[in-house]
């Protein structure tokens, strides 16, 4: 037996997602083959996905070994920690009246906290810091305006690359350049409806 762990996880992912889909699809009327209801096509698609997942699973038992990159205990720990912290932060934020629970902010706060916690081990920084930065942009854009949002997003994503930290001047220049460029394209030329400066 030569287990192909990449294929086995892929198969689990395909089958798992399809199983969830089939479970959710119970709410939809299947109809008949002649008059298909909203649930008919999803049913076909998810069953096909389960079959394909099964084939991947079967061959994954033999065509390995193809191991995933090794994860350090810290990386596993902070990944789980990030998920827990993110869900907790999101649920807490949803209960705080005002900004944290307005609109999709609770989702954003949860994702941001989760990504930040998961980015603690160096191996995860390339993955989670840009994700955190992207989420931060969503959180900051409406209350703080596009300029502030750009600056903090650039700084947050720059943490993923050690060289940025050694050259703060270059980073400042990048922030200024991107702010000016985005103002020219998105505000001046395309005139998208976003606040430019913080909303007091």
């Amino acid at each position: 037996m030569k287990l192909n762990s990449k294929d086995l996880i892929s198969a689990a992912l395909l089958i798992g997602l399809a199983a969830i889909g089939l479970w959710l699809n119970q709410d939809h009327n299947l109809g008949t083959a002649r008059r298909m209801g909203p649930g008919y096509m999803p049913m076909l698609v998810f069953w096909l996905q389960i079959i394909l997942g099964g084939i991947v699973l079967f061959f994954g038992l033999f065509n390995g070994p193809d191991p995933l990159d090794d994860w350090t205990p810290a990386e596993i720990g902070f990944l789980i920690g990030g998920a827990v912290a993110g869900i907790a932060a999101g649920m807490i934020a949803a209960r705080i009246p005002g900004f944290p629970s307005a609109g999709w902010n609770a989702l954003g706060i949860g994702m941001f906290v989760g990504c930040l916690v998961a980015a603690v081990p160096p191996g995860w920084r390339a993955l989670f810091l840009p994700s955190a930065a992207f989420t931060l942009f969503g959180l900051a854009l409406e209350p703080l305006g596009i300029i502030v949002a750009i600056i903090i997003t650039v700084i947050c994503s720059a943490l993923a690359d050690q060289e940025h930290l050694d050259r703060p001047l270059g980073l400042a220049g990048l922030c200024a350049f991107l702010s000016a460029l985005c103002w020219a394209i998105f505000i001046y030329y395309l005139d998208i409806r976003v606040p430019l400066w913080p909303q007091l």
């Binding site: 892929s10 959710l24 002649r34 008059r35 698609v45 990159d69 999709w104 994700s131 994503s157 998208i192």
Partner: protein
């Protein structure tokens, strides 16, 4: 001649000041991202989709198309000078092109890459123009069952030709179709898989998926591996080719154009596949085949002509049948739908400006690219001095603003992050994102046609094998699948894609 009248109309559209300007912008951006490794046409086009919404549909598509074929020109520059493929489609150009540069013939390699591309671009422009109306009239006789089978064939071939395991790629196609089903059911109005989220009732944002899986996931993967930048050592040298080089290049360009045009039309094909195909062919049949490995000019001329031809002919299935042949074309479908145009055989009739304008703009764009690339090659090479650490925050910001401005809703921003993480996971598991994107675009259309076909046939599945067009499509799909199960053919494909 109707064709000439139509083309004249197209040039009338393409030569308006606004369209010329956006064609030029598209070509310049395309060349730039072609030169720069780490950002490809799929990411760029999804990045710029939101910016094009303010423009008329024709202008938007002209610009986005310019990015795609412009990238084929730019990709060759770094491949030849630095042994660094800017795009997947110029990987093979590094093999002979860089060797030529080492021999001091960089200038000649760049010239034949640009001129060969230009020639291929002209031929494929005519090909698109001629085959468009022809295929359209055929497509109008298609029934729902035929359409369903055609789309199924497209999905199968795009999965079969994707890198890596065929079964996993088909799995991703199917998952893409499933994602496409999220939202309001068109016929009953019932909400499917929306979890009560109003933002999902129109379906998952197409731009979010494309930007997440191609833009953000790519940034993460690039950041993970240490930056490797080579500095150009040699000089470009004279751009003039010797008579001997010209003589050897002409047949290679002709063959490359033919191979590229064919592989571009194929569902699942496109520029990358075409350049591989042409390289394989040149290595077998060209007169200079014994020189391969030491800098044979045929190995530059053929693939470069092929990838440009393919990037243009891959518009044929999109413009005539409404079926995207690859991920870039899937983005074009997205752009058209957001502009309120349903791609399909009726487009030639209903949107003559768009159809003929786009074709004419391809020729204009190729001319521009020739000028942009050859004399200004030094400027493009300087672009490489921009380190990736300055590029990725800019890409992130552009993605973020772009995706937000789609509907002024931060939900789209968070959704994009989600797909970025999912895309990263997929690439670690060697699950291909491109087939998923095509499945996502085709999924809802397939459901429509399936329902209609079954209604017409009163629930009889045999309709798919009784109609000759549909049966042919299914047969080709089945053959493609069976062929991939044969061990030696599969090994041949893996070898071709890995080289």
């Amino acid at each position: 001649m109707e064709l000439i009248a139509n083309l004249a109309h197209g040039f009338g559209v393409a030569l308006t000041l606004n369209n010329l300007l956006f064609c030029l912008i598209g070509c310049i951006i395309g060349t730039a991202i072609g030169v720069l490794p780490g950002i490809g046409p799929v990411a760029t086009i999804s990045l710029l989709l939101p910016i094009t919404f303010g423009q008329p549909a024709t202008t938007a598509i002209i610009m986005l198309a310019g990015i795609y074929y412009g990238a084929q020109y730019g990709g060759s520059t770094t491949a030849i000078l630095l042994n660094l493929p800017g795009e997947v489609s110029s990987v093979v150009t590094t093999l002979e092109g860089y060797k030529m540069a080492r021999r001091g013939r960089a200038g000649a390699a760049l010239t034949i890459a640009a001129v060969g591309s230009f020639f291929a671009g002209c031929v494929s422009t005519v090909l698109v123009a001629a085959s468009g109306p022809l295929l359209t009239s055929v497509a109008l006789s298609f029934g729902p069952a035929d359409y369903f089978s055609l789309m199924l064939l497209g999905l199968i071939i795009s999965a079969v030709l994707a890198q890596g395991s065929v079964v996993k790629s088909i799995g991703m196609v199917v998952f893409g179709v499933a994602l496409g089903l999220v939202g309001t059911d068109v016929q009953t109005g019932q909400q499917r898989f929306t979890f009560g989220i109003p933002e999902l009732s129109d379906g998952i944002g197409f731009v979010s998926i494309a930007m997440g899986m191609f833009g953000i996931a790519e940034i993460i993967l690039n950041l993970e591996k240490p930056e490797a930048r080579t500095v150009m050592s040699g000089k470009v040298g004279s751009l003039m080719m010797t008579r001997e080089e010209v003589r050897r290049s002409i047949p290679a360009v002709l063959r490359g154009t033919a191979v590229g045009s064919l592989l571009g039309i194929l569902p699942g094909g496109g520029a990358a596949l075409a350049s591989f195909g042409s390289y394989m062919m040149e290595r077998k049949v060209s007169k200079g085949r014994h020189e391969f490995g030491t800098g044979a000019i045929e190995g530059v001329a053929g693939p470069e002509a092929a990838n440009n031809a393919a990037s243009q002919t891959s518009f044929i299935p999109l413009l005539t049948l409404g079926i995207p042949a690859n991920a870039v074309m899937a983005l074009m479908v997205g752009a058209l739908i957001i502009q309120g145009i349903q791609p399909g055989p009726r487009m030639v009739e209903a949107q003559p400006d768009l159809f003929w304008g786009l074709i004419a703009s391809m020729w204009v764009g190729n001319l521009m690219l020739l000028v942009i690339n050859l004399p200004m090659i030094g400027i493009w090479v300087k672009l490489l001095a921009v380190p990736y650490r300055h590029m990725y925050p800019a890409i992130l910001i552009f993605c973020a603003i772009g995706v937000y401005s789609l509907s002024n809703n931060v939900f789209d921003v968070y959704q994009t992050v989600f797909f970025g993480l999912f895309g990263y996971l997929c690439s670690k598991l060697r699950l291909e994102p491109a087939p998923m994107l095509i499945g996502f675009v085709l999924g809802p259309m397939m459901e429509e046609h399936l329902r209609r076909a079954m209604l017409l046939s009163r629930g009889d599945v045999m309709v798919f094998v009784q109609r000759p067009i549909s049966a042919t499509m299914l047969a080709i799909g089945a053959i493609a699948l069976i062929a991939m199960l044969m061990p030696n053919i599969r090994k041949g494909k893996d070898k071709a894609l890995q080289e």
